[in-house]
Structures are given as C-alpha cells and as structure tokens.
C-alpha cells in the first residue's frame, strides 16, 4: 500500500497537478441494490502524463473515467481539473470509448472529427475543417475522410475517434480501453502510433486498460487498482526497457495476483 503511492512524478515538481482525484468513492444505485465501484481512490495527473488506470475487470476503471468525464458524480471525495471541481461533461475532457459505435453514423469521417469543435462552438467552420484534416492526417486516414463510419474497419474507427478527441485539443484525453477490441497486431500498431502522436503533440491522457503489457507500453505512470470495489494498490513509474518491462510486469502481476491468493485463503 505504501509502495510509491506518494512519491511525486519526476516532472511534477515544477507545475501544479492538472487533475486531482481525492478520496473518490463512486457508487451506482440500481433499483434493487447499490454497487460501490471504487472506494476512496486518490491520484494526480500532471501535464504531459500518460497516466494509466490498471486493474482487473470490474474494478471500476471505467467508472473512474466517467467520474472524470463528469458523467458520474462521486458520493465522497472530489475531482478537480485545474483546481476547479468537475460538475458536468464538457469538451475540455474528450473521451474515447471502448465501443466502436461511438462515431456518429450519419456523419462522414471528416464531419465526425469536426462535429465536437462545431457543437461546442470552439471554432469556426473553416478552422474546424482545417484542424480536422490535420488530425485525420496524423492518424493516417486522409484517404477515407469522406467515407461514412460503417465502411471502416474497427481499428480505423478507433483511429477516427482518437483524431476526433485530439482535434479538440482538450486539457486531458480520456481513453477507455480504446484498443481492447482490436486484434493483437493492430493493437500493437495503434499503441505505437499513439506514442508517436504523443511525442508530436505532448497531450495529457488518462488511459484505462486491463492489460499489464499495454499499461507498460503506453504509460509513463501506472495506477494499480485492486479488484472490486477498486482501491488504489500502487502507483508505479513505467519502464519500457526490455529488462525493466519484464520485471515490472512480474511485479504488477504479483500485486494483482496476491489479492486473489489472499481471497482464496480467506474463504476455505
């Protein structure tokens, strides 16, 4: 628990955190019962971070992202962006969802990328078109800009969604397992592309995954969550060097696995 949870990120000394999540408990109330998705989760994201939320299925990663997105109100604790409490969804936090159906089927690729800029009245139509084309080019889809989403492959759709989110140049990019439903090859390619884009633009992102491997490749800082209800188990700096990655992977696996062993031991 004490593991690195409060050792500051290297670049953090200079600037104030962009996103502060403090003691956040998230709950769902359904008709029959109340589900606690996360319990008193803390973390801080700094500008330029590729911050990973890592944990087993059902530990509340998506819920945390929805909390930051403003779709889910914490019952306890606070979420602040730039020091201001998050109250509702807004275009300063663009979300890339796991699902392929996040694109608007009635708009072409280019119109999809332009839509948030126009809907939020962020840019004029001309500026939006220019920016859209620039970001579509960054994800390598210029040839498809006038095509409707139903004619794209799954990986292409996710690339459009990423371009759409990035074209807004949001304060923080929220990504919920954007590559989870892609095949292994495409996923690897997309991870590399994402890193290249980050090198290029240096955006801040909060990235959800349940794959330890993906966390180490994509992230620079990894928050490990315990199984349901999600609590912070550790916050770790990523290490992409071959040896470092392997030992890090083992360390995280032990961390997540220990919980299962304990649970199995507790109930005879």
């Amino acid at each position: 628990m004490a593991l690195a949870a409060d050792s500051p990120a290297p670049a953090a000394d200079t600037a104030a955190p962009l996103l502060e999540v403090e003691g956040v408990t998230l709950q769902y109330k359904t008709r029959q019962h109340l589900v606690t998705a996360t319990y008193r989760v803390d973390f801080r994201v700094y500008r330029g971070d590729r911050f990973i939320l890592l944990g087993p299925s059902g530990c509340g990663k998506s819920s945390l992202l929805k909390g930051v997105g403003g779709f889910l109100k914490p019952v306890e604790g606070s979420i602040r962006l730039n020091g201001r409490a998050i109250e509702r969804p807004g275009p300063d936090r663009m979300m890339v969802f796991q699902e392929f159906d996040q694109l608007l089927p009635w708009k072409t690729v280019k119109q999809n990328v332009m839509f948030p800029m126009l809907a939020s009245r962020r840019c004029s139509a001309r500026e939006a078109a220019e920016r859209a084309m620039a970001y579509i080019a960054k994800v390598g889809l210029e040839k498809f800009c006038d095509i409707y989403p139903h004619m794209l492959s799954g990986g292409m759709k996710q690339r459009v969604a990423i371009a759409r989110a990035m074209a807004m140049e949001p304060a923080i990019l929220l990504m919920d397992e954007p590559f989870a439903s892609l095949d292994a090859l495409t996923r690897r390619k997309m991870q590399d592309e994402l890193l290249l884009l980050w090198e290029d633009i240096r955006f801040t992102m909060l990235f959800v995954t349940h794959s330890i491997e993906e966390a180490i490749i994509v992230g620079n800082r990894i928050l490990v969550l315990s199984p349901h209800p999600g609590q912070v188990k550790a916050e770790i700096n990523s290490d992409r060097s071959p040896d470092g990655a392997a030992s890090l992977q083992r360390r995280i696996r032990r961390m997540l696995f220990a919980e299962e062993v304990e649970a199995a031991g507790a109930s005879p």
Binding site: P91, M94, E99, L104, P116, H150
Partner: protein, 294 residues
C-alpha cells in the same frame, strides 16, 4: 461405459498439404451476367411483368363477364381514368384529398414531436406517452369520426381531427422507442461535446433514432391515407368539392362503375408513389447511406 467413451474418440487421420490451384486455372470465377439474367434481377421489371399479366387476366375475365355495371374491363377503367384526368375532375378531387391529408399529417407529426419531446425530458412525460399510446393506439381512427362530427361539424376540421389521431400514436410510439434505443455511448459522446437540451435532442437523438422515426412516419402515413379515404366515404362534401373517397362514393351511386375503379386506382397509385418513391428516396439518402439500415 469406458468402452463407450473410448468409442467417442475421433479417428486419427493422416495429415496432408496441398498446392492450391492458380486462380487462372479454376475456370469461371467471375463473369458478367447475361442480359436476360440481369433483367431478371431487376425487381421492378419483374413486378411490372406481373402487373401486365394481371391486367390481361382482368381484361379477359371482364370481357367474358360482359357486365360493365358490376365489373368494367381494364380498358374501360383506363379510359375513365384518362377522362377523369383530362376533364380535371379526378385531379381536383385528388388535390382536395391531399390538401387535407397534408394538413392532418403535419399536425399529427407536430403533435407527436411535442409529445415525445416531453416524454424524453421528464418522467411524467414518459408515463403520459406510454399510457396514452397504450390507450389510443388500438382505437381505429375512423371510430372517432362521429365524435369529430359532433365537435367540429361537417367539414375539414373533423377530418383533420381523425387524421391527427391516426398519425400521432404511431409516430410517437416509434420515435420514442427509437430514442430509448440510442446507445449509451452515443449519448455520452453527445454530452461530452457539451450538447444539452434541445440541441442534444436535435443533433444526437433524432439522427440516431432516424430509422425508427422513419418507420413511424411511414406507418403513420399509411394509417392516415386509409383513414382519410374511409372518412371521405362516410361524408366527403366539404366546402363544395369532396375528395377522392367522395368521388368513389358518388360514382357508385350513379352506377359509373368504371369511374369507381378509376378512383380506387388513383388511391392505390398515390399510396404506392409515396411509399416506394418518396419514403424510399428519403431512406436511400439517409439511413441506408449511413449503414444504419440493411
């Protein structure tokens, strides 16, 4: 038992690898279809052929029956149709009907928009919509005609009243269930861009639910057209000139059976044109193009 299990083992087979044939040697892989095959694939052409056949049967049977009062021939019907169009009477009657129809349909759709708008924004609105549609949807619009006559008198207002009733529930029900079926992801995406209230409904919910809305509009149209003709048959004279239904009724009274057939023909034609030309074109330009349907 164990012998039975062992018997279930699949047989062991030798492995093999094969050279696949060069595609050029396989023979016919792709070839254009012959003209006859291509023509046979055009549904419209096949149907036209069927229609011609039916007309021929009709003509033959009516000639054999030789009783124009009961069953005029196809040629007589066409002649009556041409005469009706040429003299302008049939056209005028059709225009009268369509005017009323458009008014009633537009009012019904507007009412449906209000009702579903209310239903998506409040819970009481949802309850209202579900209760009202459950109550009124099974009620044939024509059954309300006597009430309409009582309230609004003889004339267009009571026709429009029943038309609204025939359109409102079908359109509201379909639109609302279309809204409910919009995926959570699209909803969150819309909110993410800061869309709220009416702009959210107009820019996310309506296009996302368009397939269902179009179905509602189509069903509503079909209901409205049938209801109007039926209502006009009961009483059609309003401000001097009746509609198509009245045209049919009048000609029946005068035993102008060919004209009755011509009137029915017109009713069918208009129904066909709106359903398979107007709505088809709208669908092709929207939901089909976007891959939201088929």
């Amino acid at each position: 038992m164990s012998a039975g299990r062992a018997a279930l083992l699949p047989p062991s087979r030798p492995e093999f690898e094969r050279e696949t044939l060069d595609a050029r040697n396989i023979g016919e892989i792709e070839r254009p279809l012959s003209l006859l095959e291509r023509l046979g694939n055009i549904a419209a052409l096949r149907r036209l052929l069927l229609l011609v056949l039916l007309a021929a049967v009709w003509q033959a049977y009516a000639s054999w029956l030789d009783n124009p009062l009961i069953f005029p021939t196809f040629a007589d019907t066409v002649a009556a149709l041409v005469k009706g169009v040429a003299s302008g009477e049939l056209v005028a009657r059709t225009v009268t009907s369509i005017k009323v129809l458009v008014m009633g349909y537009a009012a019904g759709v507007a009412a449906a928009a209000l009702l579903t708008g209310f239903a998506v924004s409040t819970r009481i609105g949802t309850d209202l919509l579900t209760t009202l549609t459950a109550m009124f949807n099974p009620l044939p619009a024509i059954a309300l005609l006597p009430l309409g006559l009582l309230w609004f008198g003889l004339g267009n207002p009571s026709l429009i009243f029943v038309l609204i009733h025939s359109v409102l529930w079908a359109v509201s029900l379909n639109t609302f269930s279309g809204f409910l079926a919009v995926s959570q992801t699209l909803r969150m995406a819309g909110h993410n861009y800061g869309l709220r209230g009416l702009r959210y409904v107009a820019r996310i919910l309506v296009p996302a639910a368009l397939p269902a809305i179009l179905t509602g509009l189509k069903v509503g149209w079909a209901f409205a057209w049938r209801t109007l003709i039926a209502a006009e048959l009961v009483f059609g004279v309003s401000s001097g000139s009746g509609g198509l239904g009245w045209f049919i009724y009048e000609n029946k009274n005068e035993l102008e059976t060919a004209n009755v057939f011509a009137g029915l023909f017109t009713v069918i034609m208009i129904g066909l044109v709106v359903e398979s030309v107007v709505f088809r074109a709208v669908e092709n330009g929207t939901v089909r193009k976007w891959g939201m349907q088929q």
